[in-house]
């Protein structure tokens, strides 16, 4: 009979304690084994590009994917370098990120929150993606941001314009380069005041989901502050295709401005319907009737054709900008693909570079280290002028473009013209602004 102490259970316990003891001193450093989710151990690092590849925003998703591929090329030292050459931070040397070659996997959000979460989860768990980025809808961005927070990876949001993304739904692991509804309103309001005066009555048609609600709230508040009256705010189902029955009541409402808080196919259809009903030729209250589309997308504006002419809105970036960074990006993208990039392509390209730069400056892929490097980071040379990644809400503050549908386009891409570049200071708001209230950033999760 043996009295040996080396039982199986005892051995396991001892090993676990010893393992923990060995790991303890290094668990807070970047180089520890599995110190954070999907720590890259080989010679490459995998990024997860989660974009709509099917569904109504598939074309925007495709443009985002083109920009991601371009960013990966530039990070790996291929191509002409694009905005790496103009970026104010000079950490990136074209040798990948922290010496690791950048690889990527893609997921299809389908512009559905559940599908987007599933594809992000798959990229994190199966493909080992250390960062998730992309998307073309605020509903999706908020859902995926929550997932990334739980999973312990960084989320670099793509095209999401709802105040909530960096407002009540903000997360420590989530970062947004794109502007938001408040910024659109703050940039547009003074321009609208100059163009149409202070005695106006506005009628809102709003897509019935998070982005529509926050944009409507922002635009109504900004225009009311300059003296406009809001006649009505009408929510339209996201699945609407024919807006004629929503446009008809506008004719008899006494309103002289129609604000279309619609995006994508909704915007194309509601704007087309509004123009069809002769709103632009109408004179109400002694003034010409006007239409405003607060968030413009060039890709979508194409679907509305000549109907966008003379109609004002805002955009995060436009390919016709003449700063060195924008020109470098347009040249790089245009040479590779044959057409200029969209604002969606621009924002995701910037996000990829910003992530890579933050990782390099932090010297780690640990999301907490990268988050710290991005928080309060001031940069320039990415096409929007001087920009701040605010620490308190992870929102970028930069210039906003007010644009107008071009009267005489010279090409199929030449649909919008920039009428004003609103300085960042004018669109900056306090972190505790009521429109962004509720929710907390929380602390970073490294998995």
């Amino acid at each position: 009979m043996s009295n040996s102490n080396f039982t199986r259970r005892g051995m396991l316990k001892t090993s676990a304690v010893a393992g923990a003891g060995v790991a303890l001193p290094t668990i807070f450093t970047a180089s520890s084994v599995a110190a954070y989710t999907n720590e890259p151990t080989g010679s490459s690092v995998t990024l997860g590009f989660n974009v709509p590849q099917t569904g109504p925003y598939a074309d925007e998703g495709a443009d985002e994917l083109r920009a991601y591929q371009l960013a990966v090329e530039h990070l790996n030292g291929e191509g002409d370098g694009g905005m790496l050459n103009t970026f104010s931070s000079k950490e990136l040397q074209g040798n990948g990120i922290l010496g690791k070659k950048v690889e990527f996997v893609t997921g299809d959000t389908q512009t559905k929150s559940d599908a987007a979460r599933a594809s992000a989860k798959s990229m994190i768990e199966k493909d080992g993606a250390v960062m998730i980025t992309g998307g073309s809808s605020s509903g999706v961005a908020i859902a995926v941001q929550g997932l990334c927070q739980e999973a312990g990876v960084i989320f670099m949001a793509g095209l999401t314009h709802s105040n909530d993304t960096t407002g009540k739904d903000k997360k420590a692991n989530g970062f947004r380069h794109f502007f938001n509804g408040y910024m659109s309103a703050a940039a547009l309001a003074p321009v609208l005041k100059n163009l149409y005066g202070t005695d106006r009555s506005a009628y809102h048609l709003t897509a019935d989901y998070t982005w529509g609600w926050t944009q409507e709230e922002s635009i109504a508040a900004a225009t009311e502050a300059m003296g406009w009256n809001t006649v009505n705010k009408v929510r339209t189902p996201l699945a609407s295709t024919d807006f004629s029955s929503y446009i008809a009541p506008v004719l008899n409402s006494g309103a002289d401005v129609l604000v279309l808080n619609h995006y994508g196919g909704n915007m194309v259809n509601s704007l087309t319907n509004a123009v069809q009903f002769g709103l632009r030729e109408k004179v109400v209250n002694g003034k010409n009737f006007e239409i405003v589309v607060p968030l413009y997308s060039r890709l979508m504006a194409k679907g509305a054709g000549a109907n966008v002419k003379g109609i004002h809105g805002s955009t995060n970036w436009h390919w016709s900008l003449q700063d060195d960074a924008s020109k470098a990006f347009v040249k790089s993208f245009g040479t590779k693909y044959g057409f200029p990039p969209s604002q969606a392509a621009h924002t995701v390209y910037c996000q990829t570079l910003l992530y890579a730069d933050a990782a390099t400056r932090a010297g780690t892929f640990n999301p907490c280290g990268i988050g710290e490097a991005l928080e309060g980071f001031e940069f320039d040379g990415l096409g929007n002028g001087k920009t701040l990644y605010r620490a308190g809400d992870h929102q970028c503050f930069k210039d906003v473009l007010v644009v107008r549908g071009k009267e005489n386009p010279t090409s199929e891409f030449d649909l919008l013209e920039v009428v004003e570049v609103t300085p960042a200071a004018q669109v900056t708001y306090p972190i505790d602004h009521p429109m962004f209230a509720g929710g907390a950033l929380g602390s970073c999760n490294a998995g």
């Binding site: 074309d59 005695d199 295709t241 024919d242 029955s245 409402s253 196919g265 002769g278 002694g286 979508m300």
Partner: protein, 385 residues
């Protein structure tokens, strides 16, 4: 001042007061050319109601045309065709295709202009304009949508014929659930094929210049009811197609045989008539009706690959409300539901029942099916075995 806009606007029948300057001098107001009509609530309300009736007829036109085709197929072949919305979408893309064909261009380099990359601009000139001159060529391109009717009819008949012979005929003896699954699957395949070639974004397909803009339909009765010209054209076109289908079935021998076959397929078969062949032709005609509805719809809303699905569910509700297999029922229910949907979008109605615009069609369908289980004009024995 904020808040006054809606209340203080002068109406069309209101004499506006003259202006008085700071010294008390009366400044005559210039003649009013505005279309304001906000201070006469009765006129405003009447206009609004008439506008929504027009909107309803317009929406109903599309519903009725699609439902008519669905009913033709169900009535003749007994197949529940969930791919019918895809046929509507393919019709719309016939217009897009013809527009693209007419816009096929050759490039010339213009050294005086530059493109977005700073290279010499390549100017595109459509072949049509080169062949027929800028004016005539421009006019042909401008009329792409109406011309697409001629382009779409043979294509849609062929697509319908191929769909019926190639796939659906194998499911005649199968349960309705199988038919629904296979046609729904086919619809998804067709829309993905279209998306592959044309992308996901809406594609603008404008109406001819002469049929764009608005028309004042109330001018005759002294009212101000402006309505888009093309929507009026769409409504009239749908009446023409519906009238054509009913006349074809009512006044031709072919139609008579088809109607007899719809009533009693076996007996007609026993008379030595190849009813299957005629029903296949009817499938082609139903496809063409859906396709034409799609072609003419393109200037109303820019077509995208998903537009068929948007109409499909509603059209099925229309068919069920109208009565399975009843052609007049489909048309009646199409217009009825279109009008109800439009009225439900009015702010006055939505303020009483919020969200009614999103559910009205289904609420009406439930009420009608509870009170008239066979639909408005359904016949005994159809889909009841």
């Amino acid at each position: 001042m904020a808040g006054l806009g809606a209340q203080s606007a002068p109406g069309p029948f209101t004499q506006q007061p003259d202006l008085v300057d700071r010294y008390g001098t009366i400044i005559p107001r210039p003649p009013d050319t505005h279309k304001d009509k906000t201070t006469n609530p009765k006129v405003g309300a009447m206009d609004a109601i008439l506008l929504q009736i027009l909107n309803g007829l317009d929406k109903g036109s599309a519903y009725a045309l699609i439902a008519l085709g669905l009913t033709l197929i169900f009535g003749t072949l007994g197949v529940v065709n969930f791919a019918h919305g895809a046929l509507f979408m393919i019709g719309a893309f016939c217009a897009v295709t013809l527009q693209r064909l007419l816009n096929l261009s050759f490039e010339t380099v213009d050294e005086t202009q530059t493109d977005f990359l700073g290279n010499a601009l390549k100017v595109k000139t459509p072949y049509v304009e080169a062949w027929f001159g800028p004016q005539m060529g421009g006019a042909i391109i401008d009329w792409a949508v109406p011309l697409a009717i001629l382009f779409a009819i043979p294509i849609m008949v062929f697509v319908g014929y191929a769909m019926e012979r190639g796939l659906i005929k194998h499911f005649y003896k199968r349960p309705h659930a199988d038919q629904i699954l296979v046609t729904f699957g086919l619809a998804i395949v067709l829309q993905e094929v279209i998306k592959y070639f044309y992308g996901a974004n809406p594609i603008q397909t404008p109406a001819p210049e002469a049929l764009s803009g608005i028309v004042n339909l109330g001018a005759i009765v002294g009212m101000d009811i402006v309505y888009p010209v093309w929507r009026v054209v769409y409504f009239l076109f749908s009446l023409l197609v519906i009238g054509g289908i009913f006349s074809f079935l009512q006044f031709t021998t072919f139609g008579m045989v088809v109607r007899a076959g719809m009533a009693d397929r076996e007996t007609v078969g026993l008379l030595g008539i190849n009813i299957d062949k005629r029903f296949t032709v009817m499938f082609g005609i139903a496809a063409a009706v859906a396709g034409l509805a799609g072609v003419m719809y393109t200037p109303i809303n820019s077509p995208n690959y998903h537009m068929g699905m948007d109409f499909l569910v509603l059209s099925f509700v229309v068919v069920v409300v109208g009565g399975m297999g009843s052609l007049p029922g489909a048309v009646l229910a199409g217009f009825l539901l279109g009008i109800l949907e439009s009225f439900a979008s009015m702010n006055e109605i939505k303020s009483i029942i919020p969200g009614i615009d999103q559910i009205i069609i289904y609420v009406v369908a439930i009420i009608i099916l509870l009170t008239r289980p066979r639909g408005l004009m359904g016949r005994k024995g159809v889909m009841e075995d």
